[in-house]
């Protein structure tokens, strides 16, 4: 059974697709059979995979608009780029069945408020409320010395969901995205520096997801 990583936040444009593609690329280029499920309205992930060069580590696309819940054969990890809402039953179901939930958030007042509401909805899922499922807060487009970023950290702290990881604000992210790439696909010194920034998050995810081949017991199938 594949490990399921759900990337989600009710606020649009907070970096769900950027983070999903990076997580998928990190897992794939370190040797795991990885899929990226596109379930977002804008189909950003689908577009990104179509641009992806053949030479880059393979990531399989699972089009969840067409076949919801599908995990391609032989896949060890699946990253799900979710729609910006927890309102539908299906989204709650996916969040419920994921091994780990990743919530990107931007340093902006609007995002803060939307995230607060989102986290409240998320807490209705029992396993999350009881802290049996990890929710990783990722402060995206982070600038170490900016007032806004510091504010965000304080805010999340007060919400009881302190930022677990930070991804910095770099123009390279939109540039790479346009070519179907990530910082894991290039072997240059600046890219290695960026990779270092992602490692703690990826590691955290891996420890939350039981490794698929050694996984014991059955896991439930998604109902479509």
């Amino acid at each position: 059974m594949a490990g399921k990583i759900c990337v989600i936040n009710a606020k649009g444009g907070c970096g769900k697709t950027t983070i999903s593609t990076h997580l998928a690329a990190a897992l794939a280029s370190s040797g795991l059979k990885t899929a990226l499920a596109d379930w977002d309205r804008h189909r950003g992930a689908t577009h990104w995979i179509k641009q992806r060069p053949k030479s880059a580590p393979n990531i399989e696309l699972a089009d969840w608009h067409k076949s919801f819940g599908k995990v391609p054969k032989g896949i060890q990890q699946i990253v799900i780029d979710c729609p910006a809402s927890l309102k539908s039953k299906r989204v709650r179901q996916v969040a419920e069945e994921a091994d780990v939930i990743v919530v990107p958030i931007l340093p902006s007042i609007f995002d803060e408020y939307a995230t607060k509401l989102f986290l409240r909805d998320l807490a209705e899922i029992k396993r999350i409320r009881k802290k049996r499922k990890k929710v990783l807060m990722v402060s995206n487009r982070h600038r170490a010395n900016s007032v806004a970023s510091r504010r965000l950290d304080d805010y999340l702290e007060k919400l009881g969901h302190p930022a677990n990881h930070h991804i910095s604000d770099r123009s390279i992210y939109p540039q790479l995205a346009a070519q179907g790439l990530t910082v894991f696909d290039l072997e240059t010194k600046p890219m290695f520096e960026r990779q270092m920034e992602w490692l703690p998050l990826v590691r955290d995810i891996e420890t939350s997801v039981q490794l698929p081949d050694l996984k014991k017991g059955k896991s439930k199938k998604l109902k479509s």
Binding site: S29, S30, G31, L32, G74, E187, F192, Q195, L199, E206
Partner: protein, 506 residues
């Protein structure tokens, strides 16, 4: 733990040893050591050596594990000080479980053999540690038998193993000699029992799928390497064909592990060492071919219509060829280059330099358990095999040869990984791969016989060559007949294999 490298010395290079030692402050000692065991050598069979030695302060009892522990030159060792010359058995608890101890009949414990040596000791401090080098000249005595000892041991006393490696190289530069993989105790037991060591067969490598990748890889590499090396003294002492074969099997497993892990290895800086391993492996190939010809092919030929004159000349010439290759192989193994190769290979495996740590993301891979890697790697190799198979199914004999080569590669490369995957899945798939390889291999038997006999022919005296070549031609013709049945078996065995593969990995 004790880490120590031993070199065999002889009359020819004794002087250069003394010269090398004289660079440092030397300590001279006369030392007598008594090894204890029961009349049935129960201690040795339980995997330990027990010895007593008088030293300045009193009596020292040392217990060591018989075989290496983790690394080729490392053994478990423990020493205690005694007041009288009587083994203290409670010390054995450190090494043996209570069950094992219960089975030993200590009433029959007695001195089994003793060594008497003149030792020269130097302590060689280096930048990163300290190595003690000991030159022993003397003998081993058991009842009426004695055997000469002349050897140098370099023991790591402080610091990292690099220090030991450095000293060994510096020593080998000044004193050309061969590696000594057999310790004094092993030789002592041989003297007592008159038994020569037996070829050591490959043991199953049992690695838990939860073990982190680098640790598991290191263990696979060490186990294979040690398997090759334990057969080395057997080969030098007995010349047993099986020990040659097992030596090669060990090296082949080492190579197989390198291809199993190829996607995550970084071998650019180790090219020399790997080439050396390949060339040693290949050097032993024709010796192995000769043994197979003498044992198997000739036996099968005997039941054919072969004229006895052909049979005799084949037997005689191949035997001669074998003896020559045997001598050459022996020279290789006793060479200084080979000694260097062993210590370098061992430290290379331990160093984990082979891990590709190019990108920061590679770290992730090394934190994962080996089971995850094993399964996806096998899947990948299977895909390649299926592709070659699809070509062969509709192709010609050339395509089957390609499939044969691919099968051989996949079989060896998957071997260390299949052992890791739990349950029956791994072993049963390994079996089915080896069956496929056997059938496909028959395609090449004929070629191999032909190439082998052509190689032998080069060694045959001119006056006998005509007769030999006639006999060889008969042999090749005989082989051709059996090869044609091999072609008929290709399609069905491939199909059978493919079905099994689908069932196992779907």
């Amino acid at each position: 733990m004790e880490t120590e490298v031993r070199f065999s010395i002889n009359k020819k290079n004794k002087k250069s040893v003394q010269k090398w030692l004289s660079q440092h402050k030397q300590i001279f000692q006369n030392s007598e050591t008594v090894y204890f065991d029961t009349s049935k050598n129960a201690l040795r069979d339980a995997g330990v050596e027990l010895r007593l030695r008088r030293n300045g302060k009193g009596i020292k009892q040392t217990i060591k594990s018989v075989g290496p522990n983790g690394s080729l030159f490392t053994r478990t060792e423990s020493e205690i000080q005694l007041s009288d010359f009587e083994p203290k058995l409670s010390h054995l608890k450190k090494f043996l479980t209570r069950e094992k101890l219960c089975r030993i009949d200590f009433a029959r414990l007695r001195p089994a053999f003793r060594t008497k040596v003149n030792r020269t000791i130097i302590n060689n401090p280096t930048k990163n540690g300290m190595v003690q080098s000991v030159f022993d000249v003397g003998e081993i005595k058991a009842d009426a038998e004695t055997q000469e000892i002349m050897e140098v041991e370099h023991e790591l006393k402080q610091g990292s193993t690099d220090t030991l490696l450095e000293t060994c190289h510096e020593f080998l530069d000044r004193v050309p000699c061969s590696i000594g993989l057999e310790g004094k105790a092993a030789r002592g037991y041989r003297l007592v029992t008159g038994e020569y060591p037996e070829p050591v067969f490959a043991s199953k490598i049992s690695i838990s799928p939860d073990l982190p990748l680098p640790k598991a890889m290191r263990e696979i590499l060490q186990t294979s390497f040690q398997h090759a090396m334990t057969n080395l003294p057997v080969y030098l002492l007995t010349g047993h064909p099986e020990s040659v074969h097992q030596f090669r099997v060990g090296l082949r497993r080492l190579r197989a592990a390198l291809s199993a892990f190829a996607p995550i290895l970084h071998l650019q800086n180790s090219g020399g060492l790997i080439l050396q391993m390949k060339s040693i492996f290949n050097d032993f190939g024709s010796l192995r071919d000769a043994d197979v010809f003498l044992d198997e092919t000739l036996a099968a030929l005997k039941n054919s219509t072969i004229p006895s004159s052909y049979y005799l000349i084949l037997q005689e010439q191949v035997q001669q060829f074998r003896d020559q290759r045997f001598q050459e192989a022996r020279d290789t193994l006793e060479s200084t280059d080979f000694a260097r190769f062993i210590i370098d290979m061992n430290s290379w495996i331990d160093s984990e330099e082979w891990l590709a740590q190019r990108r920061p993301i590679d770290q992730l891979m090394f934190e994962r358990p080996i089971g995850v890697f094993a399964e996806s790697r096998i899947q990948k190799m299977n895909q390649k095999l299926l592709k070659a198979g699809r070509r062969a199914e509709v192709g010609d004999l050339e395509d089957w040869h390609r499939l044969r080569i691919m099968t051989k590669k996949v079989r060896y490369a998957s071997e260390p990984l299949l052992g890791i995957i739990g349950g029956k899945k791994g072993p049963s798939f390994a079996k089915s791969l080896s069956k496929l390889q056997d059938t496909l291999g028959k395609l090449n038997d004929l070629n191999s016989i032909e190439t082998f006999l052509a190689q032998v022919s080069l060694n045959v005296e001119r006056t006998d060559r005509q007769a030999f070549n006639e006999a060889a031609a008969f042999c090749v013709g005989w082989g051709a007949a059996s090869a044609s049945t091999a072609v008929d078996n290709l399609q069905p065995s491939w199909r059978k294999f493919k079905m099994h593969m689908r069932k196992t990995w779907s």
